[in-house]
Amino acid sequence: MSARVLGLELRRSAALWAGLAVAPAALTVAQAGNGMAVVIGDQRQALILMMPLATAVGAWQARRDRRSGTSDLLGTSPRPAWHRYAHTAAALGIGVVVAYALILVVAAVFAARVGAHYPVDYWVKSMIVTAWLTAAVLLGAAIGRAISWVVTPPLAALSMLVGLTAIALFTDTEVGPGPHPGTWLLPPAPSYDSYITLLTPEAARAQLVWAISCAAAAGLLYVATRWLPLVALGVAGAGLVAAMTLLPEYLHQGVQMDETAVVPVCTPEEPVVCALRVHPLVLDDLRGPGGEALTALSERLPNPPNRVEEAYYSWTGYPDPWMPEPARDVVSAEIYTDGSGRLALTPTETLWSVALGAGTAACPNVPQEMWDRDATARVVAAAWVLQETPPEPDPDGYFNWIPPPNVTRPAYEALLGLPEDVQYAQVAAYRDSALACTGEDRLALLLDGES
């Protein structure tokens, strides 16, 4: 390969445009505060956007000879045609790879600023994204070379978009348990992969092998003359077979918990408030309201909790979702972060979320007909601890689920109407029941002392 010709191709071809097709990946960088698993996960989701654009650029580039009327002239050259195509393919590939690498560098700088957590599979996933982008631009070039109509670029791009949409749609139903490991081979990652999970080494290898084999096959298709298209099919087929043998039997077996992401990062001083390592900025927002809630709980409860820990939930513990273990001395706070990795709740909402159920997590086994009563009990217990009237539901905010004031406030006043020692005893009994998640009517327990 001639460096001079490659340099010419880099300047004169659509390599720059191929790089611009990768631009949507840059939008994900601002999420670094939520952990780099979120950044790379969003980049994989954005493939549904970037791959059609890259395909269009490849198809546009491949029509160049036809567009400029030089096909016949170039056909008279004794140089094999693949020499010429190889330079163009390399220029297009360099365009997407360099652009994506630049985005990764910017992401790294941003991540360093916010102390973001890097999962160990981050770089493998980056390579998978790179391979898919390269595959898309080269497949577009192969299509553009084979069918050099003026409408080929938009047709190729929109066909890619329709294909990816249809595949994402039809495989979305397969997220549940079942033998559908092939879903792992789609460019956008299945929703099994989350901010606190890692791909297993086998699943990561399978995805990488498949994506690279697709990129290689697309490149071969573009430069192919005579029998080389058959080789391209062989490369893709071999990649598929290799990937399938690496994939686990079930979809959920392709991920594992990222133990380093869920390590608690705690305040050094009392009262201890902890957030997960995966989004450390949360601690800045949780520290104040969490400490305030702990102080209130310690004033109102016997055996009060002495720390607040961010709770997390995961499907990794299939068949049962993983949930925080109820503990008397720890409040598991349910956390919602915004796009930048900060707490999405206001300080007041955070304070209430920690105090809910007198510092207990919601039980997963509450029957549906009891949801409203259980929610009322959780809000009333928090109001009693904080010595504040229950808040009104907020349809657009965190409090969208709580029962209306005409339900919570009479219940709160009924509790306050009891003798003070009875109030303390019934809230303590309520808390014991909520920690044990026994199947009782906890609103009756809170207000009447018996369920």
């Binding site: 949507p24 956007l49 654009l53 269009a56 938009p154 047709l155 929109l158 978009l161 249809a166 039809f170």
Partner: protein, 207 residues
Amino acid sequence: MISPSGPHHAIALLLRSRRIGPWLAIALGSTAALRGIAGLATEAFTDRPDVSAAFGFYAVTIAVACAGPGLAGPDLELDRAAARDWRPLRLAHVVLIAGLVSALVATAGSSQQTLGPAAQILRNTVGLTGVLALGAVALGVARCWVPGVLLTVAAPFLAFRFGGDPPAWAHVITWPVEIAASRVSWVMALALATVGTAAYSLLGPRA
């Protein structure tokens, strides 16, 4: 018998120079293919009306984008040299694209709204035809599909990212995937259609 210099002959030549035949073939083929995929999807996802609307949107985009190369004849200079006012013909061409595509896609998806509600198809066709015409004026006919394709790629993604509560500026991009009752989406589509059609009719395409 059609005389070589008669109006019928002129219309036949005009339609040929505007590549109406290949465009119709591609529009019919792509709409049929998307109707097939959307049919499978609507059977599988009976509770997801947005799915059929998405495929209807794609069908409209493909049919409209493929009309792009026909927005100019093979030789722009030759057209300009002709002693003919092209403005009414250009206006008619844009109206023809919007009318044919909306009728084609709406008819293809008419059974159980397989390609989405007809009002949504009409809105998207009108808006995207305006974008195509604007692209022909600003970028030339060879590249006039670019803004429409960018919009089609970005709109579902942005709408998904913003969920049910997009910021005001996002409607500029997400209007094609909004429901037919969304007033702002109609304002966007009609504004783009008006500006695009007016610019193309009055100024003509770039090479």
